[in-house]
Amino acid sequence: MRKSISKMSKQIGVLIFFILVAFGANAQNTVTGKVTDSKTGNGIPGVTVTVKGTKTATQTDASGNFSIAASPTSTLVFTSAGYTPKDVAVASQSFLNVSMEVSAEKLNEVVVVAYGTRRKQDLTSAITSVSSKDFQKGFIPSSEQLLQGKVAGLQITSGGGAAGGGSTIRIRGGASLNASNDPLIVIDGVPVDNNNLPGSANLLNTINPNDIESMSVLKDASATALYGSRASNGVIIVTTKKGTKGKVRFNFNTNLSIGAIDKEVKVLSADEIRNIINTNAAATGNNTFKKLLGAANTNWQDQIYQKAFGNDNNLSASGSIKNIPFRVSLGYLNQDGILKTDHFDRYSSSLNLSPDFFDNHLSINLNVKYSSTNNRFADQGAVGSAVAFDPTQPVYDATHGSRWGGYYEWLQPGTTLPIDLASRNPLALLELRHNTSSVNRLIGNVQLDYKLHFFPDLHLQANIGIDDDRGSGNDNRDSIMATDYKTFGRYSYYKQSKQNTIYEFSLFYTKNIESIKSHVDVLLLHGYQDFLTNVYNYPSFGQNGDTIANSVPTHPNKGINGQLPADKPEYRLESYLGRLNYSYDNRYFLTASVRRDASSKFSPATRIGYFPAVSVAWKLNEDFFRTSTVIRELKLRGSWGITGQQDIGGTGGSFNPIYPYLPVYSYSNSAAEYQFGSVYYNYLRPGAYDPNIKWETTTTSNIGLDFGFLNNRISGSLDFYDKKTKDLLSPVNQAPGQNFDITIVTNIGNLESKGFEFVLNTTPVKTKNLSWDFGFNVAYNNVKITNLGPQVNSIPQSNISGGTGNQIGIFAVGYAPYTFNVYQQIYDSKTGKPIEGLYEDRNRDGTVSAADEYYYKKPAPDILLGVNTQLNYKKWSLGLAAHGSFGNYLYNNYNSNNGVLRIIKNPINVIGNASVNYLTTGFANNQYLSDYYIENASFLRLDNINIGYNLGKVFKNSSLRLNANVQNVFVITKYSGLDPENSDPHGVDNNIYPRPRIFSLGANLDF
C-alpha cells in the first residue's frame, strides 16, 4: 500500500509539473527523453534533470522517461546517486537518449558495520571497507594478508615465510601495553577468539580467503564501541559471500605457485673461518680450535631451503533453489614452505542459506564454514642453526656411522655423545623431526530477523553462533636425533579444543519520517558470549616406550588418559547494547550508542563497564555544492567514544589472566616436588592476584573528512585521531611481601597515541579502452606512555638472545613502548669502527654503568604507506601493490649475538659461524647493549605485480580470466639484516623464517 501511495504521489507530481510547464513556460520548448544505464540499457528512474544555471528541474519516471522545458541553447545536467553525472546540450534535439554510466565509486555502496550495514556515504565514523575485488592478489593462504597495504593505519606483518603462518595485525598501532593489541575479528557476526590453539600456526588460516566478500576495518571508537569491552584495538568485520537470487552460477578458480628464497643471511665462508682460526692459533699459540677445523665447504642455508610449490583450488556455486538463495563452496589449498619439510594444506567448505518466509517478514541467514587444516611444522631452529653452524664441517659424517642418523654433530671429545650446548646439524633438525598437527574449525551461526506482522517497523533479531576449534598433533623426534638422545627420542601428542558460543537477541526499530525528513533506527541488544578451552594432557615417550619423567601430568585431574579434558579455562561476557542512528534530510547524521559489558574475568564489584560513543557527520556537498559536478562528495565527520580491553596478558608467573581477581592455588608437576622422608609431595602454590582489577579503557576522538571530486575520479579521506588509554592492564611491580609475586597485572598507567590518516584514490585516465587507477594511503602514528603509576618511571622489557636475561627495551614515561635502552657506542675516529666495550659515560661520573644507558629509537613505525595501482587496457590488466613503513628501528640481535669472535671460537670448544658483521667490528666478545646494533628498519616493499587477461566468453555462458603474479618482488631498505619487516613488537631481530618470493599463475572460470 505504501508503495502505491508513493507511486501515486510521484505521478501526481509529474502531472502537476506538466501543468506548470504547459501554462508557465511558453518561451521554451519541451524536451523529452529517456535516461538509460550504459551497460544494461534499462531506463533509470529518479534521475534529476536540471537545466544548467537555472532552478528548473525534474526527475525521470519509473521507466527513465522525462520531460522538461528547456531552450535549445541550454544544457541539461543529469545526476543520480551511483551514476557519473552527465551534461548534455539540448541543441535542436527534441528527444534525448541519455546513457549514464555507473560511477567509479558507487555511492550506494553498502558497508558492513557493527551490528548492521550502512550506506558508505552515510558513515559517521572511521571505517574502511575493502571488497574482494580490491584484495591483495596472488597466492594468499591466510585471510588477513588480503588487506596488506589496503587500509590506512592498518599494519599487517607476517611472522615470516612459514607455510600457513600468521601475521600480527595492528590498527592505529594498538592501544595497550601488556594486554593484547590484536584487533577483535568478527566473522559473519561471530566475534572470534584470536588466541591460537596448539597445532595451529594461525587461526585465521582456517578461513578460506576465497569465501570472503568484504572486510571492514573499524578504527575509531564510534565504530568499535558497539563491541565495547574488546574493541580498543579496533575491529575487523569479515563478511563471507552470500547466495544470490536467480540462476545457479558456478565459479572455479585455481592457482599454482612456486616460491623460493629471495636472500640468504650473509655469513662467513668456510675459508674465511679457517683463515680466522688459523691466524688466531698462530698468534696465541693455542691450537684447540685449529684441531677442530673441518675440510668441507658447506653452505648450510642451501641445505635447509627448498623450492616451495603450492596450489589453491576453489569451486563455488551460488543461486537459488526453490527460492532459497544459497552459496556453497569447496576449497583445497596445498602449500610447501621454503624450509624443508614445512607444509600446510587446507580443505575448506562453506554454506550460506538466506531464505525469506512469510512475505519477507522472517529472514534467515545461515552460515556454516568448516575447514580442516593439516600442518607439518619444520623446526624453525634450523634457520638459526644454519647461520651459526661451522661451514668447515660436512653435512654427513661417515666416521660415526649412523649413530646420529649419519649427520655431522659436535661430539664430546673422546665420546660419541653430542655436546648439549652446541648447535645441532640444521638438516638433521628438519629431517629427523616429524611435527604434524591438524586443526578442524567450524564457525556457524544463524541470524533470524523477524519483522513484526502487526508492527513492521520493529524487527526481532537473534544471532546464535558457535566457533568450534579442535587441534591436535604429534611432535616426534627420532631417537637418533642428537637433541633428544638421552630419552631415546621424544614422542609427544597434544590436543586442545575451544568452544566459543554467542547468543544475541535484539530489537531493531527503523522508521522514515518523511514529514520531518528524518530517518531513525534504534537497536537494543542483549547477548552472551562464552569462551571455553579444553586442555588435554598426555605424557611424552621415548622411542623405547618409556615415559619421559617430567612430562607426566601429576594434577589429580589428569583427564583420564586424554578422554576428558584436564583443564577447562573459561570466561564469559554478558552485554547490553543500545544504539540510535538518526539522519536529517540526508545531510546531517548522528549515531549514539552505549554498551554495558560484564566480564567473568573481574570481580562482581568491578566487572561491569559502560562504553558510550557518539558521532556526527555533515554532508557539506548537500548544503553547499548540491549541483556541483566538481565536488560530488564532501563530508565532515566527528566522533568520540570509550572502548574497553579485557584481554589480560600473563606475567610469566603465577598470576592467572583468566581468573585474575581470584585467590587460587595450583598444583606443581612431578618434577617440582619436595621430599619428606622418602615420599615426594607436590606443591600447592597460591597465585598472585588482584581483587580490584578492572577494565582498561581507551577514549578516542576522531575528526574526518571524506571527499570526492571530478565525478569521483579523485576521492579519499582524511582522519585525525587521538587515543588515550587509562587503567592500562600492565605488569606492575609489587612490593615484595605484598603479594604472591613481585609482578602482577593490574590497572596502572596511561598511554596516548595521536595520528592522522590520508587516503587518496584517483583515476587519472579513463577512456573506453584504457583506464588507470592509482591510490595510496598514508598513516602517521605517534604513541607514548604518559604514566606508569605513582612509583614507577620505567620497566625493562624485550628479552634478547644471548647471555641469560639480557633486555634491550623499556617501558618509560614519555617514550614509545619498547623504546630501546642502550649504551652509546664510541667509534674509532679514523676507521669509523665501533670500539669494543667502550661506551659514552653519559652522566660523567667516571664509570660506565647502567646509569649511562639511554633511550634510543623505538620499534614502532611513525609512518605506514600503502600504494596500489591498476592499469586496464582492453582485456589486459596490470596491477602493482606496495607497502612501506618508516621510522621503525630494529635491534639486530643476529649481529650482536653472532658477529663476534666468541661465536667462531665458542668457549664450549666448538666452532661456529659468524655474521659478516664480525669482519666490520672485529669484536671478540658480545656487546649486547650497544646502540651500534639499533638499525633503521624503514622499508618499502613491492608486494605484488599482477597481470591479468580476460578471455571473456569461452563457451556458452562462461567466462574465463587468467592471471600471473609475482609476490614479494623487492624491498628497499637500509637495514643490514635479512628483512626489515618484523612482527616482533619488541623490535628484536633474530632472523625470521625468510619470506619467499612467490610466482603464481591463476585461472578463474565463471559458468
Partner: protein, 540 residues
C-alpha cells in the same frame, strides 16, 4: 492463522531464549586450581602447601625443570629466582672462591664487587626469601587452631598441622636470616600482613636480628627433637645451628658480639648426636642423603622430582666443561662457567688432594699448575682451577635417578657438623665465655683427621689454632657451600686491601673496593614499589 500462531511461537521462543540465557552465571572458577577453602579442607592440602614452603628452597617454580616460575618480572628462573644458585652467587662469586666466565647481564659485577641497585640477580635474590616468607605467613594464617577446626580437621591430622607451624616459623626465620645477611635491613611482614593490604614496613638489621632470635627460641619447645623428624624437614638441630651461625656474626649484624651464645648453641648441636661421616667427598655426591647424620638440615634434591637449573644441578654443570660426563656425572657437556681463583686453591699446601682430600681441584685435564691457575681472561673457562666438589655421581656406583643423566640428585646441606665445630672454635678464640680451647682444637682436628683420610698427618697444635687459621680452615672445609662472603666480612677482608685475590674489584691482581659492598643494595625496583623502604648507605 498459521502465521499468527507462528508469530507467537517465534516471539515467545525468542523471549524465552533471551531470558533463559540470563540464568548463566558470570562467577566462574578454575577447573583445576583450588580456592583457599578447598585447599585447607584436607590434611593433604596442608601438606602440599607445607611442601611448597620447603620447596621454595629447592625449586624455582611450580614446574620442573622450568616454566612456571614463582617470581616473574622478567627474571631468569634458574639463575635469578631460585634459592640455591642465586644464594651461591651472592656468597661465593664476590670472593676468592669463585669466578664466572659468562656475561649474563650483570653477573660479572659480583666478582668485580661493583653491583648496583639495578642488578636483576639481586632483584631475584631479594624476592626469593620474601616470597618464601609470604608463603609461610599464608600457612600460619590458615593453620591456626580455629582455622583447622573450622575445616573439620581433628585428631592426629590437626596435631600434625599444629606442629608443622613451628617448622614454618623456622623457615620464615631462616629466610629472614638470608635477608639480614645479604641486604642488612629487610621488608618486614608477618601473618598479620594480608595479601593486598597496606605496604609492608621496613625492619632494621639489629631489630631483625632480635626478631629472628626471638622466633627461633620461641619455637624451640615445639620443634621435633634432633633426628626424630623425616629427612628434609627441620627439627631442633636446625634451629640451634641457625642460632649458632647468627650469634657468630652478631657483631656484624648488630654491632654487639654474642660469642657466648654462639658457643652455647654450637655446643647444643655438637652434643645432639650428629657425627662426621668418614668421607668428605661423599658429602657432596648424588647419594649424600646417606650422610644425613652430619647434616642438621639439607634441602633434598632429586633428579626426577626436583628438577631445576637453580639447584644442585647447577653445581655439577656450571663447574664443568668437556669433562662433565666423566668427572661430574652429567651428560651432554658442562656449562663452561664457574671455577675458583688461585686464592682458594692456595689455602691448600698440597693442591692435588693427595694429602688433604678436600682439595678437589684437579681433574684429568685441568691441573693446578701455575699456568692453569692464572686467569688472564675471565670469560675463558679454560683458565682457572676447576672445582670438582659437587658431583652427580653416587658413592655406591649405582645410576642416578634421572635416566637422562642431566638433573642432579645431590642434596644441599644447609648446616653441617663441621661448621658447628668451627663456630665453636672461632667463638672460643674470639673470647666467648664458656669456650674451651682444648675442645676447640680437638674439634678442628676431628675435621682435619677426616680430611686427611683418618690419619694424623693433618693434625695441628694449639699454636696453630689462630683466627686466621680458622678462616682458612673454613675456606678448606666449607668452600662452595655458601659461607665465604659472610666469613670474609666477619674478618673485615671482603672489601679492604688486606687480602687480595685475582680479579677482586675487577682488577687482575685484585684491589680494595668501597666498604659499601659489604652489603648488597636494595634493588631499585623494590624501592620503587615500596616507599617505606630505604637504600643501604653508598648506593642509589
Amino acid at each position: 492463522m498459521i502465521n499468527k500462531t507462528f508469530k507467537y511461537i517465534l516471539f515467545s521462543g525468542v523471549l524465552s531464549l533471551a531470558v533463559g540465557s540470563c540464568a548463566k552465571k558470570l562467577n566462574l572458577y578454575p577447573e583445576n586450581d583450588l580456592t583457599p577453602d578447598k585447599v585447607y579442607s584436607t590434611p593433604a592440602g596442608y601438606k602440599s602447601v607445607l611442601a611448597k614452603i620447603y620447596g621454595g628452597l629447592a625449586s624455582g617454580g611450580n614446574q620442573g625443570p622450568a616454566g612456571q616460575p614463582d617470581i616473574s618480572g622478567g627474571l631468569d628462573e634458574g639463575s635469578q629466582i631460585a634459592y640455591i644458585r642465586p644464594f651461591f652467587n651472592c656468597e661465593e662469586l664476590p670472593t676468592d672462591e669463585a669466578v664466572v666466565a659468562w656475561n649474563d647481564q650483570t653477573i660479572q659485577d659480583y666478582h668485580n664487587l661493583s653491583f648496583t641497585s639495578a642488578d636483576p640477580f639481586l632483584k631475584g635474590m631479594y624476592a626469593r626469601p620474601m616470597y618464601n616468607i609470604t608463603l609461610a605467613n599464608e600457612y600460619l594464617r590458615n593453620s591456626t587452631d580455629d582455622a583447622v577446626a573450622a575445616h573439620g580437621i581433628t585428631g592426629a591430622d590437626a596435631a600434625s598441622i599444629k606442629s608443622s607451624r613451628s617448622e614454618v616459623r623456622f623457615l620464615r626465620a631462616f629466610n629472614y636470616w638470608i635477608m639480614m645477611d645479604l641486604f642488612g635491613k629487610s621488608t618486614f611482614i608477618t601473618e598479620a600482613n594480608v595479601v593486598g593490604g597496606p605496604l609492608p614496613k621496613e625492619i632494621q638489621r639489629a631489630d631483625l636480628f632480635n626478631y629472628i632470635v626471638g622466633e627461633l627460641k620461641a619455637i624451640d619447645g615445639d620443634l621435633a627433637p634432633v633426628k626424630t623428624i623425616e629427612y628434609g624437614r627441620v627439627d631442633q638441630g636446625a634451629e640451634w645451628a641457625l642460632l649458632a651461625r647468627i650469634y657468630l656474626n652478631a657483631e656484624v649484624y648488630t654491632g654487639t658480639p654474642k660469642y657466648d651464645s654462639a658457643i652455647i648453641y654450637a655446643s647444643k648441636v655438637i652434643g645432639g648426636g650428629y657425627s662426621l661421616q668418614p668421607s668428605y667427598a661423599q658429602l657432596f655426591m648424588a647419594d649424600n642423603d646417606k650422610r644425613k647424620d652430619e647434616f642438621m638440615f639439607a634441602v633434598p634434591i632429586d633428579g626426577l622430582h626436583t628438577q631445576g637449573y637453580g639447584n644442585t644441578t647447577f653445581f655439577a654443570h656450571a663447574a664443568s666443561g668437556d669433562e662433565a660426563t666423566k668427572d661430574y656425572g652429567v651428560t651432554g657437556g658442562g656449562w663452561y662457567g664457574y671455577r675458583a681463583t688461585s686464592g682458594l686453591v692456595n689455602l691448600f699446601a698440597d693442591k692435588t688432594g693427595g694429602t688433604d682430600s678436600r682439595a678437589m681441584f684437579t681433574t684429568s685435564k685441568y691441573e693446578t699448575s701455575p699456568s692453569q691457575m692464572l686467569i688472564n681472561d675471565i670469560s675463558n673457562f679454560d683458565q682457572g682451577p676447576h672445582v670438582k666438589k659437587w658431583v652427580n655421581i653416587r658413592s655406591d656406583g649405582k645410576p642416578t635417578d634421572d635416566p637422562t643423566g642431566y638433573f642432579a640428585d645431590i642434596d644441599f646441606p644447609v648446616f653441617r657438623l663441621s661448621e658447628m665445630y668451627l663456630i665453636y672454635a672461632e667463638a672460643t678464640l674470639r673470647g666467648g665465655a664458656g669456650g674451651d680451647k682444648v675442645k676447640a682444637l680437638n674439634y678442628v682436628n676431628l675435621i682435619r683427621a677426616r680430611a686427611y683420610g683418618g690419619t694424623s698427618s693433618g693434625q695441628i697444635t694449639m699454636n696453630d689454632l689462630t683466627l686466621q687459621f680458622i678462616l682458612d680452615e673454613r675456606g678448606r672445609e666449607l668452600y662452595w657451600e655458601g659461607h665465604r662472603r659472610t666469613d670474609l666480612i666477619r674478618y673485615g677482608l671482603l672489601t679492604t686491601g688486606t687480602y687480595l685475590w685475582p680479579w677482586k674489584g675487577g682488577v687482575a691482581s685484585g684491589t680494595a673496593v668501597d666498604s659499601k659492598y659489604n652489603l648488597f643494595p636494595i634493588p631499585a625496583s623494590v624501592l620503587q614499589s615500596n616507599p617505606n623502604l630505604t637504600q643501604n648507605p653508598g648506593y642509589n
